[in-house]
């Protein structure tokens, strides 16, 4: 079936089976490989994309359910988004496989809560796993991005 989407600012129509997850459409049809297969059951966050601004696991989102939604992957942030810059500055990654999901979740956190506490960050980011264990530096990156956004206020995140 056909599904109308807006992906990274571009309106488009994609082909998907009724039982197909959006992950396969993004990776397969659209070659957006920043969205990554890992757990397949929505618990690790490696396939996170933003659906109308909310971080969602693409591996358990049926493609037809995304009809009419705005999908943002890390490719859509360009490369100079404050959260991306903060991750680079903090060196908050090793293999980088979970990083796109981390960045999108952090972006969403900071939009909901521009000045998160340590507890806020750990709870919100707790659904994104990093097996390399870069958590201390990821936490630092989120704090860096928060202070950068604060310095640049009132401009907020935004793709």
């Amino acid at each position: 079936m056909k599904v109308r989407l807006n992906v990274n600012g571009q309106a488009m129509e994609v082909q998907a089976r009724a039982d197909e997850m959006l992950l396969d459409v993004l990776r397969g049809e659209l070659d957006l490989t920043s969205v990554r297969y890992t757990c397949g059951i929505g618990v690790c966050g490696a396939c996170t994309a933003l659906v109308d601004g909310e971080p969602i696991s693409m591996c358990i989102l049926l493609a037809p359910l995304a009809e009419g939604k705005e999908i943002t992957t890390v490719e859509g942030l360009g490369g100079d988004h404050p959260v991306q810059r903060a991750f680079v500055e903090a060196e908050a990654f090793q293999c980088g496989y979970c990083t796109p999901g981390m960045i999108l979740t952090a972006k969403s956190l900071l939009e909901e809560n521009p000045e998160p506490t340590e507890e806020n960050i750990r709870a919100y980011m707790g659904g994104n796993l990093c097996r390399c264990g870069c958590y201390p530096k990821i936490e630092y990156a989120v704090n860096l991005a928060a202070s950068a956004s604060k310095a640049a206020a009132p401009i907020k995140g935004g793709a």
Binding site: G42, I60, L65, C95, R131
Partner: protein
């Protein structure tokens, strides 16, 4: 240039595509041990490539240290998950559907899963004979005990342990068990294979391109030069992506299909491919009344599963460093690699060191208790110093254990009180003998290319190579590139394991750059570290340099429920000279966090040999909200110090530090991971209550932590922490965060309406698991009240 990891532009093995490639799926045995009576694939539709046992009958065997693997087992399957057949189709879904159409008849055989039982006389045999591999990964004397399941027995003999125990005033002995764990690289195993005429090319995320080349060439009976391995960056590995995993099957399918074939494993298959050795370790320690260690007797059983993989090497390392960084006149170690009918176990960050360190360092605290000494003082009294001889007979150099351990102790204010605190110190060897080779090429315009077989799995190897080369060449790091390893192009090297690459390649690079400066266009450098141990006496040179690590932990325990929380973790390790500080910090923090998972919740669970928690909901790895309130570390450098590998050193010390912190309250746990139940049992044992008592539900005596110093235990004076309130223990769930991903679906009524059966099913399973898991955790508390 923005880092490709933040833009998603980095392409991993999983992202590799070749024109016209097919996608494969594997059929695995559901039973742990069985004769394969027949395989019927007649129902598979035409057009799908089917690879059956008879298609690979004429191929050779393979295996890095013991040649015990076949592409598909010809006679019997040896574990639940052993691959029996494979299919390739235009899409992975098509192949998946066809897997269900193959019918296999099994005649079940009795199976053995426990390593000690499997090593005993009369156990059923997993393999009839043991052939040592000619792969260079079999670099030490392997001693199979023919007619048993022991495929390697390593022995270390130093002094006379009987005499040693004879002169001991205090002797303690305990047996420990550590669970199997899995690596959980975020990226699963992914490989693409194709044949061009008689030449095989495999693009695969692997730490061991040349070992893979040897094994695949041997399998197909072709020259090594006819096999080309390319290793793109990996989305994590931690030892998982070593030696031949799915590549032999991909190559066979590609040969049959005459098209490239790609295999990406499903998540649950990762647990059926390679795991960490479950182990049993028995330690007996003797000391004089002043704390001087006089004897250590250690026995290790490393459960290597159905195929040895590098299990002999793991047991050897587990064994030769088991006595720890102490001066002990009399040492006897027997360490065995044991076949069982579990999935294969192989290299895992720490490489055997975690298991024997857990056992020894827990026993050191038992001994401290017995002789009435401060555990820090007992360790300090016996630590190896520069110039001391280790029990292998080698002289120790560049030794920093005392400094590291003192730093660890200071970080938790040990001198004020050691209540709720624990320490650990350990040494870990680097593969010895070892050689490394590297080439440096210069192009017009002053740019340089470093060519080496060192693979990138997130550890920062490429950047370290580029930085070291830039420093030696006196150019900016942007002038130096380090392409993905390609066995057609890079000099031969053993493998990217054992935390040896930065150390060994760094030295080879110096030679290569000197050669380049002399010869103009291409410089070549090679270094060789001699050494090795006699496998029957454990004498020789175990390691050309030693990784030295320590950790301190502080815990809070709720003795009513057995739940505990790690409040503080600090790991000072010796780093020699740091090349890239942020990358080195990431390696160390990552090791600590993996050690935390090992201590708290990582455990492969089996029922009749079938893995029962092969998903990331039932198998927990640490998430951000599992971090201790304070997690810190130290990379101790020395002026003029050598570059050290840092990839593993901080993992093994973490679980014993946590176990010893519990023991500071008299809570003696012997198994990893440490569950709330085992803590409760240990509290009961400490307070002299049996299991039956706990089950009868009688009123507990006070266990409020104020008077929990049992019997003769000696605690330092000073302020003991107040008893704690129940804490969000160590079950590793990150419910809030993980629920966020389904929040959207539940909150949107229109989405709910649209939700198909499949989506509902998946959600229900995920939610059920989450809630069930929480329910279980909550149930634990009322049991005792």
């Amino acid at each position: 240039m923005t880092d490709p990891r933040v833009t998603g532009a980095l392409r991993y093995s999983q992202d590799v595509a070749m024109e016209g490639m097919l996608h494969a799926r594997l059929l695995r045995s559901p039973v742990a041990h069985a004769r394969v009576v027949g395989v019927d694939a007649s129902a598979v539709p035409e057009g799908i490539i089917v690879l059956l046992p008879q298609d690979v009958r004429d191929l050779g065997g393979y295996g890095p240290q013991i040649k015990d693997q076949e592409v598909f087992p010809q006679e019997r399957v040896r574990y639940a998950g052993d691959v029996v057949a494979a299919l390739a189709a235009e899409t992975a879904d098509e192949a998946e559907e066809a897997v269900g159409l193959i019918n296999v008849d099994y005649e079940e055989l009795p199976a053995v899963f426990d390593e000690v039982e499997a090593a005993s006389e009369g156990a059923i045999l997993v393999h009839e004979t043991t052939n040592i591999s000619r792969n260079d990964a079999a670099y030490f004397g392997i001693r199979p005990q023919q007619g048993t399941n022991i495929c390697h027995l390593f022995r270390l003999r130093h002094g006379d342990v009987e005499a040693g125990f004879g002169e001991a005033d205090a002797v303690v002995e305990e047996t420990y068990h550590t669970a199997g764990a899995t690596h959980v690289p975020m990226e699963p195993h992914a490989a693409v294979a194709r044949w061009e005429w008689d030449r095989l090319e495999v693009v695969t995320g692997t730490q061991t391109p040349f070992n893979m080349r040897t094994d695949l060439a041997g399998l197909f009976g072709i020259d090594e030069e006819k096999v080309r391995i390319i290793s793109p960056p990996m989305g994590g590995s931690f030892g998982a992506k070593t030696f031949v995993r799915t590549e032999a099957i991909a190559a066979c399918l590609a040969r049959k299909a005459k098209r490239p074939v790609k295999i990406v494993l499903e998540r649950d298959e990762m647990w059926m491919t390679l795991n960490r050795h479950p182990s049993t370790v028995r330690v007996k320690l003797g000391a004089r009344s002043d704390g001087t260690l006089v004897a250590n007797e250690t026995e290790c059983w490393a459960n290597t599963g159905a195929y040895a993989d590098c299990g002999p090497g793991v047991a050897q390392k587990m064994g030769f460093a088991a006595p720890g960084p102490y001066r002990i006149a009399n040492v006897r170690v027997d360490s065995r690699t044991v076949y069982t009918n579990l999935p294969p176990n192989g290299a895992f960050r720490g490489y055997g060191q975690m298991q024997s360190t857990w056992a020894r360092e827990r026993t050191m605290d038992l001994l401290a208790d017995k002789v009435g000494m401060d555990p820090l003082e007992l360790r300090m009294k016996n630590l190896l110093k520069d110039g001391d001889k280790y029990c292998t007979g080698e002289t120790m150099h560049d030794v920093h254990f005392e400094r590291l351990l003192q730093d660890a102790a200071d970080a938790v204010a040990w001198s004020e009180s050691w209540k709720n605190k624990g320490l650990c110190v350990m040494l870990k060897g680097m593969q010895t003998p070892s050689r490394a080779a590297i080439a440096v090429e210069v192009e017009d315009g002053g740019t340089y290319t470093v060519r080496c077989a060192t693979t990138e799995m997130g550890q920062g190897a490429k950047m370290a190579m580029r930085m070291m080369a830039a420093e030696l060449l006196d150019v900016g790091v942007e002038k130096v590139s380090c392409p993905d390893p390609d066995t057609d192009v890079v000099p031969y090297d053993t493998r990217t394991t054992s935390s040896r690459s930065t150390h060994m390649m760094g030295r080879a690079l110096k030679v290569a750059v000197a050669d380049l400066k002399e010869n103009g266009e291409r410089g070549y450098g090679e270094v060789v570290d001699e050494g090795g141990l006699d496998p029957d006496t454990g004498q020789g040179v175990a390691s050309s340099h030693w990784h030295q690590g320590t950790a301190a932990a502080e815990v809070e325990v709720d003795e009513e429920t057995g739940r505990f929380r790690v409040m503080k973790l600090h790991a000072p390790i010796y780093a020699g000279r740091v090349i890239n500080r942020p990358a080195a910090e990431l390696q160390n923090e990552g090791s600590m966090i993996m050690g935390l998972g090992t201590a708290l919740f990582e455990s492969n669970e089996f029922a009749e040999g079938q893995i029962t928690n092969a998903n990331l909901s039932d198998y927990n790895v640490p998430a951000m909200d599992d971090m201790p309130a304070t997690l810190s570390h130290e990379l101790v450098e020395r002026e003029g110090g050598e570059v050290q590998g840092l990839g593993e050193t901080a993992l093994p010390p973490v679980p014993p530090a946590i176990g010893n912190a519990l023991y500071s309250r008299g809570i003696h746990v012997t198994e990893l991971p440490i569950s709330a139940e085992s803590v409760l049992d240990a509290v009961d044992a400490r307070d002299g209550r049996g299991d039956a008592w706990a089950k009868a539900g009688s009123e507990p005596v006070s266990t409020d932590g104020r008077n929990d110093s049992p019997g003769e235990r000696v605690f330092a004076s000073g302020t003991a922490p107040e008893p704690t309130t129940p804490v969000n223990g160590s079950d590793g769930l990150s419910d809030q965060g993980r629920l966020a991903s389904v929040r959207f679906l539940l909150a949107s009524p229109s989405a709910l309406l649209l939700l198909g059966t499949l989506g509902m099913g998946l959600l229900a399973i995920a939610l059920y698991r989450l809630l069930h898991r929480r329910g279980e955790a909550e149930k634990k508390a009322p049991l005792r009240s």
